[in-house]
Every structure is written in C-alpha cells, then in structure tokens.
C-alpha cells in the first residue's frame, strides 16, 4: 500500500505540489478521527462475521474488495440468513448508490486530475473520507495527495480492524471511553464547518427533517440519497428565488 502511495507522490510532484510526502502526512493527520471511529465498528463487524462463521481471511478479503461499512454489515446478515450471492450483490449496489453524489461533488475539487489518480482515489470514497476531504478542500490549502492519504489510511485501519474483530473481538469490552461516539462527533463538527451562511444552514435543516421522516416511512438507507437530493434541490431553488 505504501509503495503504491509513493508512486502517486512522485507523479504529483510534477503538478506544482511542493512536497508530496508532507501532503501525505497531512492526510494522515486529518484521518485520525475517522480511524478512531472505524476501530470499534470494524471490531464489531469482525465479531459479527466470526459468529456467522466467516473466517478471518474472508473478512480481510471482503474489507479490501468492498470497503463499505454498512453494506458489509448487511451482507453478513444476509449470509447468515442464507441469501443468494445475487441478492447480496444487488443489495450492496443499492446501499452504495449514495456514493454517486459524493463522487460527483468531489469532482468540483479534482478538476482535470489524471484519470489513473482518480481511479485509485475513487476506491477510498466513503461517507467519512468524503466529509473530511470536502471540508478541507473548501477551506483551501488541501491537495489531492493529502485527500488520497485520508482515503487510504482510513482503508488500512478499516481492513485491520475488521480482521482483528474476528481474531480477538470477543475479548474487547464494548463502548469503552465513548469510542462509539467518535464518528458522530466528527460528523457534528464537519457539519458545523459546512454551515457557512444561511443557505447552508437552511439546506442542512431541511436534510435533517426530510431524512428523519424518510427514515421512518421507508425501510433501508435510501433516506441518505433521498433527503440529500431533496434538500439540496429545495435549498438551491430558495436561494435562486431569494437572489433575484
């Protein structure tokens, strides 16, 4: 993994990035709240997979190939219930469609970047890395190598946490030090960073309202995509009308 990152670094140095090792280190620094949040979830996932009879190497393989927390939990539950591979793959597709929105928004800040870089970068787009990277990009002084660092360091921690969960998960006490709140706390702070003016505040409140109602009415996780598209669209129109 690190030799791979190194190749990217040397490639990007041609694009006026002063020190790509520094960029990568900045990425690692920015990723720690994500890693902190992934550890308990990854361990819990490993324990669940172990109880379902999935060996550690298969858990590692799944975390490397899929790298999507909620879809992996659902897949294990479906495997336990004896679902067919086709139905698990289809469910995974639906659950992970929300990444279309994130991938599209990231394009704003990765304009005309090399396609190979984007191909490597896209693998690590998650709810968490998206939230951290978008906030940093918007603030400025954030580059694509740092962003790639966030993605891949989170990925390594996820893979290792899930494997550890299978091997030693049952020996680790749950809920210690409030670690289950790490990702919630991170999302709260990143949300605060996003609230730069009335239209963002309005859109955020709309999204929370719509997501809550949607979640109660429609099973599954379609509320994420549904509420995000509705809120952004309403916020966009209100802003346009107000601007005239």
């Amino acid at each position: 993994m690190f030799s791979l990152n190194h190749n990217i670094s040397s490639d990007s140095s041609e694009r006026n990035i002063p020190d790509s090792n520094l960029s990568l280190r900045n990425g690692a620094k920015a990723a720690w709240p994500i890693c902190l949040g992934y550890i308990p979830i990854g361990l819990a996932f490993g324990v669940l997979a172990d109880q379902t009879g999935i060996p550690f190497w298969a858990v590692g393989l799944m975390s490397i190939l899929v790298f999507a927390g909620s879809a992996q939990f659902i897949a294990v539950a479906m495997l336990a219930a004896g679902a067919s591979p086709g139905s698990i793959i289809l469910t995974t597709f639906v659950v992970n469609l929300r990444h279309i929105l994130m991938s599209s928004s990231l394009a704003l800040y990765l304009h005309s970047v090399n396609r190979w870089f984007l191909t490597l970068f896209a693998y690590g787009i998650t709810d968490e890395s998206f939230a951290v990277n978008m906030t940093r990009f918007r603030k400025g002084g954030w580059d694509k190598v740092s962003a790639l660092g966030v993605n891949h360091i989170s990925n390594i921690v996820w893979v290792l946490s899930t494997i550890s969960g299978v091997l030693v998960g049952q020996f680790i006490p749950q809920g210690a030090f409030g670690i289950d709140y790490a990702l919630t706390g991170m999302f709260i702070c990143l949300l605060v960073f996003q609230l730069q003016g009335k239209k963002f505040l309005l859109t955020g409140m709309l999204a929370a309202l719509i997501a809550t109602v949607w979640f109660l009415l429609i099973p599954g996780n379609s509320y994420i995509v549904g509420a995000s598209i509705c809120a952004a669209t309403i916020g966009f129109w209100i802003n346009r009308k107000a601007g005239r």
Partner: protein, 107 residues
Amino acid sequence: MSLNDYLFLFAGMGLVTYIPRWLPLLYLSHRRLPQWLIEWLKLIPVSILSALLAPTLFIDTELHSLQLGKAELIVAIPTLLFALKTKSLGGTVLVGMLLYWISSLLL
C-alpha cells in the same frame, strides 16, 4: 463457503460499490460543469452530513420511532457548541466521546 464462493461474492460486491464511486468523478472532473450544477453540488456535503446524522440523533432505531431524548442527541448539543466555539475537529471528537462515555455511566 469455499475461497471461490467468497471471491465471487466479494468481487461482485466490490464492483457494484466501486463503479458509483468512480464513474461520476472520472466523468465530471474532465467536463466544464454548468454554474447551476456547481451551485447544487456545493449543497451536497451539508445535506449528506445532516442526513447521515439525523437518524442517529432523532430516531430510536430499535423501535423505529421518533425519540427526542436519546443520549446521542443530548450529548450532541454541548458537542455542537464546542465545535462552534473552537472549530477544532480533534477536540470535538474527544469532547463528544468523553460526554457520551459519561452519559453511558450515568444512565
């Protein structure tokens, strides 16, 4: 399940997960985007963050009903104020964890 069964299943899951992560970025980053789309996409991060948080804070996922007294929500208020005041991501995460831990010991 054998290695091949697992490999087939996880490769399939990986492929359908990777494509939605990859195609929009690959396509849109090499196009000139219309201004309205840029404006709209700028509202997506705040929307996604809000939508992701809402059920955690407002809904009892076991009972599948609205629940406005969850520990997650009560802890979120001082955590939010701390984030507003300090603008520190690391500090906010640690304060949130600490308060949540305390709340779990008290309740």
